[in-house]
Symmetry: C2
Subunit: 346 residues, 2 copies
């Protein structure tokens, strides 16, 4: 199955590339089917509420990007991908557990365009089923038996939790720097992307530099993915994104578009703009028209363009990370996937 | 340090035995000091809220029973206990993570006689710091490097989460059987006691029957410990137990004293008693005097005595489990500890 077609040319940033996730899903359809079988099998329990709740989220049209990246990064080096199924399932379980706990922490009512699990099953069940899936992910890793992979994913899990706590700590704080924002998203999102990609190189016994290149690629794709998500929260409509837009705004999350807009207000000493951000993000005093006003300020100050540049920087670094690899079909899809992060609509 | 003093005679159930936890703590003081050092070291983070919250709970006068059991079960077989420190710390982190999530799920305001972490730091932080400690526990196990121990503790963690979900599912359900109750406490409490004890036999390379004997001992001590806890919730005053009494009652938890009292009401066809339990436990319609009434019904129907008998049965099984071991000071303290579960005041 390993194809060595020449790398696709880099798609210019201005034209939307085709969705490489669909290509990857097609290419790895049988691997993904095995992984899905394992996911369904391991979320079972004699306690009916567990598969009900886990299934609600897992069947909720998730794109399975992270397990797909584990499968693809394994296929980059080896056609014998049996070991990758368990680990791809483990990666998806960690992700699902994180989503369940996130929605409780954010008090979200929507996820992927439908009511979030905590809205349907309650916060209590979401916390506990998250814990169950998290434990199950470690059971899957134990079955695989690699201490190295266990180390990568336990470290990533600790980093994710730390990032979520940091995010909570700086919520509503107008002093948040771009550097702190990047630390948060590196932890809460990019760490699992990095681990998911690194695993493929580890279980196929690649050299340390190649393991690092896959790790770095995953990290930068994860960064671009999250930055794009944070732009979308001020841009797309609720139907497109599959979650309520303006959530970050309502929660007072200090994301890149707001940090840039605030910086611009400070530079121009615009009292009106500074007061607006202090009232809404700082004090959570939000009225009906404020989201529109936030969107318009972000546009007016060019903060959306600056945020896109930030993501493009990570996309470029994701490309650079893969330079060490020989050309192949999967490598070119990985490059396309990096570009695609900025063009996805949901 | 391994002492082979003759086993202490079984303390008759009627006179309160001395507290063997204090004896164990004294005997294993240097092991426990090393473990505590690791615990404090590994709960650190650059995000100040993490050590603040973790430290609040970990310094809150916990008895450290579970890590003590890992250390003691290692010392039963070997004087070289260095490996046990990391794993004892891992066991305590899993326990602490569970407590943090439990208090969120139970909406508790008190834990060990002081405000619970979620009451002070909020539910959001408690969920996330729980996740952090859980991940850290796996990092500690990975450093130790035993896939077998990783398997034991990841399985125990999944069982704990399942037990908590089952408990939530049967809350307020008057149909709950004694068997279901035992399944819940076997999962939510006894599984970690069993794992904590088993680990000592595993890392000292004991035979499968000895590993099983330690596992079974831990299981039955955990069962007796939890049953005693469930009696105390209807008996001791808030100051003694270090948590609000009557919590189980208010939450509609179907614990042994209630299951026996309800059974008795059914046998005697007492409409008044049946109505009382249906209103309070079934419908959570609780007024000021109801806890006193519940306590009095539990006493009148001999449900407290039946619950104590249930615990005594597990204490006997804990004793039986250790028959395979040669006599030693730690073995005799383990036997005392089993008896002590029913005599502790908090």
């Amino acid at each position: 199955m390993k194809t060595t077609a020449p790398a696709a040319p880099l798609v210019p940033m201005t034209t939307p590339p085709p969705n490489p996730l669909e290509d990857l899903s097609r290419l790895l359809a049988s691997d993904m089917a095995e992984t899905n079988k394992l996911i369904l099998e391991r979320m079972q329990s004699e306690i009916p509420l567990i598969p009900q709740l886990a299934g609600y989220l897992i069947a909720a049209g998730g794109k399975r990007i992270r397990p797909l990246m584990t499968l693809a990064s394994t296929r980059l080096f080896d056609n014998d991908t049996d070991r990758a199924y368990r680990l791809a399932a483990a990666v998806e379980f960690i992700h699902t557990a994180t989503l369940l706990h996130d929605d409780v922490v954010d008090e979200s009512n929507q996820r992927r365009g439908q009511a979030s699990a905590n809205a349907v099953f309650g916060n209590q069940s979401s916390v506990l089923v998250g814990d169950f899936l998290f434990s199950k992910s470690f059971e899957l890793m134990v079955e695989d038996g690699s201490i190295e992979v266990l180390g990568i994913l336990s470290k990533a899990s600790a980093i994710i939790a730390e990032g979520e706590v940091l995010q909570l700590s700086i919520q509503n704080s107008l002093e948040t720097t771009l550097n702190q924002y990047e630390r948060v998203i590196a932890a809460k999102t990019a760490a699992l992307f990095a681990a998911a990609c690194e695993i493929g190189a580890v279980i196929t016994d690649q050299s340390a530099p190649i393991q690092k290149s896959l790790h770095d690629y995953g990290h930068h794709v994860g960064m671009a993915f999250q930055i794009a998500d944070d732009i979308l929260d001020y841009q797309s409509s609720s139907e497109e994104l599959g979650k309520s837009i303006g959530d970050d705004f309502k929660e007072g999350k200090m994301t890149a578009p707001v940090i840039f807009a605030l910086e611009s207000a400070q530079k121009s000493s615009s009292k009106e703009e500074l007061d607006f951000w202090a009232r809404t993000i700082g004090n959570k005093d939000i009225t009906d028209n404020d989201l529109k006003q936030a969107q318009s300020l972000i546009k007016k100050t060019g903060s959306d363009t600056k945020t896109i540049k930030l993501a493009e920087n990570h996309i470029q670094k994701a490309h650079n990370a893969l330079e060490i690899l020989e050309e192949s079909h999967i490598k070119s899809l990985f490059l396309d996937l990096a570009n695609y992060t900025l063009h996805r609509k949901n």
